[in-house]
């Protein structure tokens, strides 16, 4: 019995090679973000692992094509619904999976599966992770969980298939900061509010005389015009934003969005065919009320955090004001500087306003009829 079995030789090589070691073990990457009762995130899973779990390679040629991945989408999401479960403090959160994408990592391509879920979490979230549980005991899910500005990480699977996470209560300062930014971001990204305001502000550096626009002689009246319009707009939308945020009044979003578009047309055309010249602040106030409902729609998507409702509302409103003020400060000095030029009075005023009105008309049609 002196000779080793033949397969000893095979494993010898294994030993040498493995002590230098190969590459990564099986990991999935679970990124999860909890924003007030709303969970969004993505699960990244190696195509190799997804194949083992559900069988993507339908023609069995040993290659996974994008077409095969797409056909397996339903199968995959069914699998994930069973093997990845989130439970808030009150009830389970049903995951809605989005369109699959691909992400490259060192050991090949990964499926990138976005998802979101309505998830009443309050202070606790339980994650049950059983992906590849039976197929590969060395598989793990690497979790990055962000809630209330705090990020925690954990390894899911293995002996710890079900784990509970404490979500820290959002601090007041954190909520303030978050909503301030959201307000600013909203005013900059949704340019309809800005175009409305700018349409009302373009003539602020002019005055109407004998059916003609003439430059104001000094800064003072221009500044006064600007302050009146901005204040009226701010006051008006703050009122309705607050009313809507506390659920006192609600308007259907299609209606408010359409009227917002219409308000831009009115304000812009008023520059071309002036009806209201001295009291544009009234337009600002009247339509500002409706813009407030528009802001409220954004806020209701985010939700107001329990315990910091008022502060968040104030912060969001301040963000909106800061955002619009920044644009006013950037644009109006230029308007004032150009106010006496033909370019401004004969070009920007009529044609710029017409262009804005045209754009708003497109929005109006889209919002009133579309979707």
């Amino acid at each position: 019995m002196k000779s080793a079995p033949k397969w000893v030789g095979l494993l010898l090589a294994v030993l040498g090679a493995m002590s230098a070691s190969a590459h990564v073990a099986s990991n999935s990457f679970l990124n999860l973000r909890i924003d007030h009762n709303q969970a969004t995130g993505s699960l990244e899973m190696a195509l190799r692992d997804a194949e083992l779990a559900v069988g993507i390679d339908s023609n069995r040629d040993g290659r996974i094509t994008w077409g095969e991945v797409r056909s397996a989408q339903e199968l995959l999401t069914q699998y994930l619904r069973v093997h990845l479960q989130l439970t808030g403090s009150e009830a389970g959160c049903s995951l809605q999976f989005g369109a699959l994408q691909i992400n490259e990592r060192v050991d090949g391509n990964y499926l990138w599966v976005p998802f979101n879920a309505a998830c009443p979490t309050a202070h606790q979230l339980t994650i049950s992770y059983r992906v590849l549980d039976e197929e590969d005991p060395s598989h793990r899910g690497l979790l990055t969980l962000t809630a209330s500005g705090m990020t925690q990480t954990a390894v899911l699977g293995g002996n710890r298939k079900v784990q509970m996470f404490e979500l820290s209560h959002p601090s007041v300062w954190y909520a303030f900061d978050e909503y301030l930014q959201a307000g600013m971001w909203h005013i900059w990204s949704g340019i309809d509010h800005l175009l409305f305001l700018l349409s009302l502000l373009l003539p602020a550096v002019l005055s109407r005389r004998d059916n003609c626009w003439v430059a104001v002689p000094q800064a003072k009246p221009a500044l006064f015009n600007i302050i009146k319009v901005v204040t009226a707009f701010t006051l008006a939308h703050s009122i309705t934003l607050s009313l809507a945020a506390f659920d006192i009044i609600r308007l259907p979003s299609r209606l408010t969005e359409s009227i917002i578009a219409a308000s831009i047309i009115v304000a812009a055309l008023n520059n071309v065919f002036p009806l209201v010249t001295d009291a544009r602040w009234r337009i600002a106030f009247a339509f500002g009320l409706l813009h407030g409902f528009g802001f409220a729609a954004v806020l209701s998507e985010m939700g107001l955090p329990a315990g910091a409702r008022l502060i968040s509302l104030v912060a969001f409103n301040l963000g909106v004001e800061a955002g619009q003020l920044a644009v006013v400060v950037a644009v109006m000095p230029i308007a004032y500087w150009l106010r006496a030029t033909r370019f401004y009075r004969r070009g920007v005023m009529p044609w710029g306003s017409t262009a804005i009105a045209g754009l708003a008309l497109v929005w109006l049609i889209q919002r009133a009829i579309g979707r």
Binding site: M18, E104, V106, D136
Partner: protein, 382 residues
């Protein structure tokens, strides 16, 4: 016209400021056409494989060859997932109260591959207590003890192995250890004199790998190259030797040959590391991509709390990232687990770069006590 331009510019400014504020686009992408191939599946990775695995639950005669096949696949593809598959197949047999040596030895190999050396030794002891005459178990034990730097015990295990293995394999096992314990020259001569005529390819590959490494430590680079090439001819998937060969080429600044040697091997982390080092030396634009992939892999590994690639990570920090302090910390953690000459080399390199030789003192003392001889270390004054 001018007025329109003004409005356009105004809109432009607003849009641009919006874009600048937007978060950077995420890296996932949507492939452009259905025919695009996203992954090649190695044998054993198919969903239908699960049927064979179910069969293995009830039959040892299926489980053992299947697990061995998975371990082989892990070796030849570099994909550690196969170790998980092997573990899944072995699990019911390992869990039995009465030890099943054939399953336990394979389980130990899986554990060893994950650098769970202590657990692997425990598993092997269980197996050897049930069955002493298991050559494979003794050899695996010897290999683990050698990686741990416990050369005396490794030699004992080798001795036991020799009782049941054939002469040539015994010589490779013994001389490999002697080459680390003060007898490098004679060990090299003994192995080089060994006739490879009756050896299996894998056995010859093992001998070549030992000879190549010894030649490197002796400073005989052209001989080392000969052995590495011979091995790669026999087993092109031996990425351990491929990595060692790449290191030799890197030392000689033969970067073009490094690129050629590692082409298509980027998915194997240790090889990607060598590629990144060559890219760094060449100022190659591919470096950013390689670095990002390696960073992601190392961070995933540390998130799992596993340390399979600490040697690579230390070299990455030192040679790609130019961060000697961080490299030294990782190299020390690595040295606490495994003690091969390459582990010492990266530790000393990092300690010198960090001007903190004190941290490497214990490791250097260990090398001197054992009689590890290596020109690469000698050049560093060790």
């Amino acid at each position: 016209m001018e007025a329109r331009q003004f409005v356009k510019q105004l809109l432009g400014i607003i849009v641009v400021s919006g874009v600048l504020c937007a978060p950077l686009a995420a890296s996932p992408f949507t492939p452009s056409n259905d025919a695009q191939v996203l992954a090649d599946l190695p044998a054993g990775a198919h969903h239908t494989e699960l049927a064979a695995r179910r069969l293995a639950r009830g039959r040892l005669a299926v489980a053992v060859p299947l697990a061995r096949f998975y371990i082989e696949q892990a070796r030849s593809t570099g994909d550690l997932r196969f170790l998980g598959y092997a573990e899944a197949v072995l699990q019911p047999w390992v869990a039995q109260a009465a030890p099943v040596p054939s399953a336990l030895v394979l389980e130990a190999t899986v554990q060893q591959s994950r650098h769970e050396f202590d657990a692997a030794l425990v598993t092997l002891n269980r197996s050897l207590n049930a069955r002493r005459d298991d050559a494979q178990a003794w050899l695996t034990r010897s290999t683990i003890l050698r990686v741990l730097g416990r050369y005396g015990e490794a030699a004992d295990a080798c001795e036991q192995f020799s009782r049941w293995a054939d002469a040539a394999l015994s010589i490779i096992c013994q001389q490999g250890l002697k080459g680390l314990s003060g007898h490098l020259n004679s060990a090299y001569a003994a192995l080089a004199a060994l006739s490879s005529q009756n050896m299996l390819d894998a056995e010859r590959g093992w001998r070549d790998a030992e000879l190549g490494e010894m030649a490197v430590r002796l400073g005989r680079d052209s001989d080392a190259e000969h052995w590495f090439r011979d091995d790669l001819q026999l087993s092109p998937r031996d990425f351990y030797v491929r990595a060692a060969y790449a290191d030799l080429l890197l030392r000689q600044h033969r970067n073009a040959e490094v690129f050629a040697l590692l082409k298509g091997e980027e998915s194997i982390e240790p090889l990607l590391l060598r590629l990144a080092i060559a890219q760094k030396q060449q100022n190659d634009p591919g470096l950013g991509h390689s670095t990002a992939l390696l960073e992601a892999a190392f961070s995933a590994e540390s998130a799992r709390g596993e340390a399979v690639h600490r040697r690579e990570q230390a070299r990455f920090l030192l040679e790609v990232r130019n961060n000697p302090q961080a490299a030294l910390a990782v190299a020390l953690a690595n040295w606490a687990v495994q003690r091969e000459p390459d582990d010492l080399l990266v530790l000393v390199n990092a300690a010198q770069a960090a001007s903190d030789m004190q941290k490497a003192a214990a490791a250097i003392k260990f090398a001197h006590t054992q009689g590890i001889s290596d020109v690469r270390l000698a050049k560093l004054g060790v």
